[in-house]
């Protein structure tokens, strides 16, 4: 799903929710996943002016989960360690987006090359 403007955020969140409901995720985990996805998609809009997201259903043994990948061709993040700290923001926001999203999901992976773009992958297991 391509994200280009603020109006894309809500449909995107609904898509994530649909997938989460399909695998029978609890309301709490649904909310956590949706909030994390919402943080990351807003970051993508704000700093990279948009990008592409992919939502997938995963299964590992008896466990089901959802993977969301956020890919953008923005300026990239110079210091990932610093960006992952609470309260650090280059914009005028609260600075909890990236570290907060990490706390909300089961697995979190971020790769960024300055000048080329950033890819964030999150996985939320159904009972994780």
């Amino acid at each position: 799903m391509t994200i280009e403007k603020e109006q894309d955020v809500v449909p995107f969140r609904n898509r994530v929710k649909e997938h989460a409901v399909k695998i029978g995720m609890s309301i709490l985990n649904q909310t956590k996943l949706i909030t994390a996805a919402s943080e990351l998609v807003r970051n993508m809009l704000k700093y990279a002016g948009g990008g592409v997201t992919t939502i997938e259903v995963l299964s590992k043994g008896r466990e089901n989960g959802i993977r969301v990948v956020f890919q953008d061709k923005g300026p990239g993040i110079k210091d990932i360690k610093q960006a992952m700290q609470d309260g650090f923001s280059t914009g005028k926001s609260l600075g909890v987006g990236l570290p907060g999203a990490k706390r909300l999901v089961s697995e979190f992976d971020i790769k960024s090359i300055p000048g080329e773009g950033t890819t964030v992958t999150i996985i939320k297991w159904k009972n994780g």
Binding site: R42, D86, V96
Partner: protein, 287 residues
């Protein structure tokens, strides 16, 4: 000899028109509840008239030339009209294609003796009408978009009411996602109402907000700060259990704000702040 399409069609205009309208009226899916037959006739007549006046042998292949401007304008008008009145895109498309069929019928009937000429003319007419139909689709979608835009405006207007629940207490139920523009509207309405009503307590109810992420939280904090600057206290209510957990995990600090789970408990808190007491009156038993 090259046949003059324009002249041919002009001559056959009456027949084309009748065929076209007859086909439209015969269609079982005719939406006569949306438009009367007379209206349909006059609309079709106008379009055909202008189209035939415009067409000549030279400009037939270029719909986007200056000469076709009036035709496209009328088509756009029809298309927008249909979009607003609830026609489906298929119906609008078929309307134009119906005209094409009527044209081709006329050409076929007239040029039986000149087969290569007929093929050529048919081909060119086909192309012209296809372009016009595509154009119609474009404007049809634009018409629909206008409807959507108007609705969006209406939704923003109606979705941020400020309610005076008590003397000095305002409630503001927020429904839907809080983005920057919504926050702006909410804040303006709230601050304005605080001044007008002289209220000292405002309750922001977020039961209707599906997800609270850091941006929404930031907007809330800003609204609360602005309210405080106006000398009023702000209570946030309607925090659902899953939202509470999510906010904690996100690491957003809302401890400086009074938050309540329900609007009722927020109202009770507001009463305490105003030193009001709500009592159940014991009625005297009637004899």
């Amino acid at each position: 000899m090259k046949t003059d399409i324009a002249k041919l069609l002009q001559r056959k205009k009456k027949q084309i028109f009748e065929n076209w309208v007859a086909a439209q009226l015969a269609d079982s899916n005719l939406r006569d509840e949306l438009m009367s037959n007379e209206e349909l006739r006059s609309q079709s007549d106008e379009l055909l008239d202008v189209l035939l006046k415009t067409i000549n042998n030279d400009n037939l292949s270029d719909v986007y030339s200056q000469a076709f401007e009036p035709v496209r304008e009328i088509l756009a008008g029809i298309s927008v009209f249909r979009a607003k009145n609830g026609y489906t895109p298929t119906e609008t498309g078929l309307y134009v294609f119906g005209l094409k069929e009527a044209f081709l019928q006329a050409i076929q009937g007239e040029m039986k003796s000149d087969l290569p000429g007929m093929i050529e003319v048919t081909f060119r007419m086909n192309k012209l009408m296809d372009h016009l139909a595509i154009d119609t689709f474009d404007t049809f979608i634009k018409g629909r978009e206008e409807v959507i835009l108007r609705q969006t405006d209406e939704i923003t207007e109606i979705s941020t009411p400020v309610i005076r629940v008590w003397d000095g207490i305002l409630a503001l139920p927020i429904i839907g996602t809080l983005d920057s523009s919504r926050t702006q509207v909410v804040m303006e309405n709230l601050l304005q109402e605080i001044v007008v009503s002289g209220s000292t307590i405002a309750i922001l109810d977020i039961s209707g907000v599906p997800a609270v992420d850091s941006l929404v939280a930031q907007h809330l904090i800003k609204t609360v700060a602005a309210t405080r600057l106006m000398g009023a206290e702000c209570i946030i209510s309607g925090i659902r259990p899953e939202i509470a957990q999510t906010v904690v995990h996100l690491g957003i600090d809302l401890s400086s704000i009074v938050t309540k789970a329900t609007l009722a408990s927020a109202l009770r808190h507001a009463f305490t702040m105003l030193k009001l007491e709500v009592k159940r009156v014991q009625r005297e038993k009637s004899i």
